[in-house]
């Protein structure tokens, strides 16, 4: 899993790439919580561009939950953007699409 992030249009856009499972979820969670802290400091939202994520197991989903708890406590909104078909299905099966806002594109997340 590779991680990059940038500030764009008043949000942090984080772009993890690769698979997120038990071998990579720890690093994914650490990066995610770091991005939440940066977003909190700047008082802006966090958009996770999911386009580069091949698939995400329950470990990755639960890392999202841990990050969301910190984000909620700091008043930061997390939006999941542009998941591929596999990740979209996983979000639906896990019902995580009820816990997180999910948009078709990064632009849509930035505008939300």
């Amino acid at each position: 899993m590779k991680w990059s992030e940038e500030v764009r249009d008043g949000a942090i856009v984080a772009s993890p790439k690769g698979k997120i499972d038990e071998s990579t979820a720890l690093g994914f969670g650490t990066d995610l919580e770091g991005a939440v802290a940066s977003a909190a400091e700047a008082s802006i939202k966090l958009v996770v561009d999911c386009a580069g994520i091949d698939y995400m197991s329950s470990r990755g989903l639960r890392a999202l939950t841990l990050a969301k708890r910190k984000a909620d406590g700091a008043g930061v909104k997390i939006i999941l953007a542009a998941p591929n078909q596999i990740v979209r299905e996983i979000l639906a099966i896990s019902r995580y699409d009820k816990l997180f806002g999910v948009t078709e594109t990064v632009d849509a997340a930035l505008a939300a």
């Binding site: 499972d21 979820a25 698939y55 841990l66 019902r95």
Partner: protein, 322 residues
Amino acid sequence: MLVRFWGTRGSLAVAQAAGSIRSKIARALVAAKGRHFADEADAAAFVEDELDFATGGTYGGATTCIEIEATAGDGSFIVCDFGTGSREFGISAFARMAAGHARVFNVFMSHLHWDHIGGFPFFGPAFDPGSTIVIHSGHADVEQAFRRQQDEISFPVAFDWLRAKIEFRVLAAGETYRIGGLDVEVMEQQHSHKSYGYRFTDSAGKVAVFSTDSEHKIESMEGEADVANFFREADLVICDTMYSLADAVSMKEDWGHSSNIVAIDICHEARAKRLALFHHEPIYSDDDIQRMHQESIRYEELTRRDDSLEVLCAYDGLEVRL
């Protein structure tokens, strides 16, 4: 090894109401499209072959009770939990004992909540003076739980009036015991007042794992390696899959249960061969459980590694031969 499910529902026994049966019949008639059936067997073949399970059958509503027939065991009955499914099991056991089966029961308790002990007062062999029932548990207070539910305030037959020889044996987590001709490994699990999982290995090397009422806490995911080790290369893992992951980490966190997708992930990590989705949410209809099963199969496909994991959905009456 044969694993037979007598009760698969979680938390509370449920039953189909008239409206549910009407809906199944109506759906079946629509699916038949006016077809003529020569006799009941012909119609039964249509139900079996052409209707989905939620229409042609039901997952049932009895609470946890599982029977394991071991290859080259010692002839005793091997049972997990005394949920309401144990009433039907007791009736079946009487028939088999009449045909010569040993009147000995080795019962392994996941824990002592009502849905896992509530069938015991209706378990016929407990009233049989020729039967011996050995109740194994990780809980030191196991006997208290069984006696308490038969106090007069709750039940008309006191525990001491039961005619079977009943023994309680406390097992230690992390240990492996030789019981009933099986190796039985014990694992402590996360649940209110704790629960225990059991890994059964018969003399043919077949392995069934019983792991219900076990929450995999979001704050301690690294501990799942121990669970994966307990499930390692099992032929069948019977796993608590009561909630969606979203429910398990939000509204229903700390309720002591797991999700279908965490179970699949751990089974993948363990390289287990089969998973039985188990301890179904009592508010789920048959359609809901069937949908959860289909979604679980799809999730397994999406996250599969080298080996595929067969995802079964347990129902009252299911038999799985390993």
